[in-house]
């Protein structure tokens, strides 16, 4: 089965030649069932959320299997691989080989989940952009904490677009390309509309007749008529731009 040259390239799993030959000849029914027991033990230990005791293994494996011997052999087989079988008291578990531990620690980025409030604000920004903080609050009916918006800006899914040309010149928020990328949307208009939300069962079929979902602008980079661009001065005011020695 393994005449492809590939096999020669990858670590041969601790089998030396004599062993291989012995295996080739001595295939008795007993050996076959022994192999099967080893496969079973392997799968059980792999899938378990905690080390598996030999007693538990014995209960699952065919009658008469010498669990300890089987596990010791499996341990031997895995000893040179990227994953080792380790014994903890009377239980067994797979662990990354010690010399490869560096691989594991490298990406310990903790994935965080957005709070429900943040998800709501994000969704409103996506659908209603360009939208000001006051408008977000009006839609949600609750005040939005500064922290929520900060978190969203930190995700890089939300950006400040400009300023609304109304008294107070409030900042308008919108989504970024990273947002589209993360949610696998080609364009912002791919967000489902009211009919589709209803069709997918996400929105009740009986919404009041005056209920509507806005269609986001087709080009997110263009400012709308009532938006002014954000200037550097604005950004400094907002504390987002560290004063720089060199400007470009």
């Amino acid at each position: 089965m393994s005449e492809n040259s590939a096999d020669a390239n990858v670590i041969p799993f601790m089998i030396d030649d004599e062993a291989g030959e012995d295996a080739g000849e001595g295939s008795s029914a007993a050996r076959l069932s022994f192999n099967e027991a080893a496969r079973m033990a392997e799968a059980l230990v792999f899938a378990s959320a905690e080390p598996v005791s030999e007693r538990a293994l014995a209960a699952r494996l065919p009658e008469g299997v010498d669990v300890r011997a089987t596990m010791l052999e499996l341990q031997q087989i895995y000893s040179s691989r990227g994953v080792n079988l380790v014994r903890v008291a009377d239980s067994w578990a797979f662990r990354t080989a010690g010399d490869l531990a560096f691989l594991m620690s490298r990406d310990a980025v903790q994935q965080k989940k957005l709070s429900r409030a943040a998800m709501e604000v994000l969704a409103i920004i996506a659908y209603h952009q360009p939208v000001t903080r006051a408008e977000i609050e009006e839609i949600r009916g609750v005040e939005t904490s500064k922290g929520t918006l900060d978190t969203l800006l930190e995700t890089d899914w939300v950006r400040m677009r400009g300023r609304r040309r109304t008294p107070g010149r409030p900042v308008t928020y919108g989504t970024t390309d990273k947002f589209l990328d993360h949610f696998a949307l080609e364009e912002i208009r791919d967000l489902p509309g009211m009919e589709e939300l209803k069709g997918a069962g996400l929105l009740s079929a009986r919404m009041p007749s005056n209920f509507a979902i806005p269609l986001p602008p087709s080009d997110l980079d263009l400012l709308t008529d009532d938006e002014d661009p954000l200037t550097d001065v604005d950004l400094e005011e907002l504390g987002l731009l560290t004063p720089r020695a060199l400007d470009d």
């Binding site: 799968a43 792999f46 899938a47 378990s48 959320a49 905690e50 578990a93 797979f94 662990r95 990354t96 594991m104 990406d107 310990a108 980025v109 903790q110 994935q111 965080k112 989940k113 957005l114 429900r116 998800m119 709501e120 994000l122 969704a123 409103i124 996506a126 659908y127 839609i139 949600r140 009916g141 930190e154 995700t155 899914w157 993360h182 949610f183 696998a184 949307l185 967000l191 489902p192 939300l197 997918a200 996400l202 929105l203 009740s204 009986r206 919404m207 009041p208 209920f211 979902i213």
Partner: protein
């Protein structure tokens, strides 16, 4: 379709193997074969079930016999005042129409698709549905993660692909949006109107069931007779005629009548094509 008490009858229809999980709910049971309308997923599903009882390959099926079986079923259900969903009635109207097309030789002035063509379309849809049902069964019976095969029980790391600190799915986003907008929307409960079926509603169902009418089709008589009781027929004709005109005005439909009291012919209109003369 109901010979199940006959012990020599060929073994349970092949549908049994298709849905191992819940044959029971398919409405087949021994010793007498019963049809439980609640066990069917719409009229096509029922038709497929009836077709299987012809015990021939779907490509050799007699569509006429199938139509008759379906109509008999609907008639008897109505006779015992079993409430049938509109979908079933609209399908009945369509099949009655199809049956008339199959029985009466094609008339010179009948421009519509032939009965055979319509039957072929129906057969195609049945085959396609059956294929999908088979596929679903095969899918369900595959080795499934968390049921038959398992992932590492003690994962040691999460390989982070994009160095996004935050994760959220589109589904999370959409549910968050829908829930809050719904919460804030003033919930003025509206009582759903119940009344005579408008032809527009019937036509929407029909389009879903059998597709568009590409050619002139005299269908309304059938719709009316299946969707209403005899007492309501006059008002049904009036309101459906109004609905038809409405659809014509909106450009979804064309309508034609040769003489007074002769059947109304309808066909769907693609939005692209322009009618030179005003539709009459």
């Amino acid at each position: 379709m109901a010979e199940a008490s006959d012990s020599r009858a060929p073994k349970a229809a092949p549908m049994d193997r298709l849905w191992a999980d819940n044959d029971e709910s398919r409405g087949v049971s021994e010793p007498a074969l019963l049809i439980d309308i609640a066990g069917f997923e719409g009229p096509l599903d029922l038709l497929l079930h009836l077709a299987r009882n012809q015990k021939v390959d779907l490509s050799r099926i007699s569509i006429l016999a199938l139509a008759e079986q379906y109509l008999t079923f609907v008639d008897s259900a109505r006779a015992v005042r079993l409430e049938l969903a509109a979908d079933y009635l609209v399908m009945a109207a369509w099949l009655a129409f199809l049956k008339s097309k199959l029985l009466i030789p094609k008339q010179a002035d009948d421009e519509g698709e032939s009965g055979e063509e319509l039957a072929a379309v129906l057969q195609f849809r049945l085959k396609r549905l059956e294929a999908m049902r088979d596929a679903a069964a095969r899918l369900v019976n595959r080795n499934r993660l968390g049921r038959d095969v398992f992932a590492r029980g003690m994962p040691e790391l999460v390989v982070v692909e994009k160095r996004n600190e935050y994760s959220a799915s589109l589904y999370d986003l959409l549910t968050a949006y829908a829930i809050q907008r719904q919460r804030r929307a003033i919930t003025n409960v509206r009582i759903a109107q119940r009344g005579v079926w408008s032809l527009k509603q019937a036509r929407d169902i029909l389009t879903r069931l059998v597709g568009e009418f590409k050619e002139w089709t005299a269908l309304d008589q059938f719709l009316i007779s299946y969707l209403t009781t005899p007492e309501e027929r006059a008002t049904a004709i009036a309101s459906s005629f109004a609905a038809t005109l409405e659809l014509v005005r909106e450009g979804h439909l064309e309508v034609r009548q040769q003489d007074a009291f002769s059947p109304l012919y309808l066909r769907s209109r693609t939005p692209a094509e322009k009618l030179p003369e005003g539709a009459s």
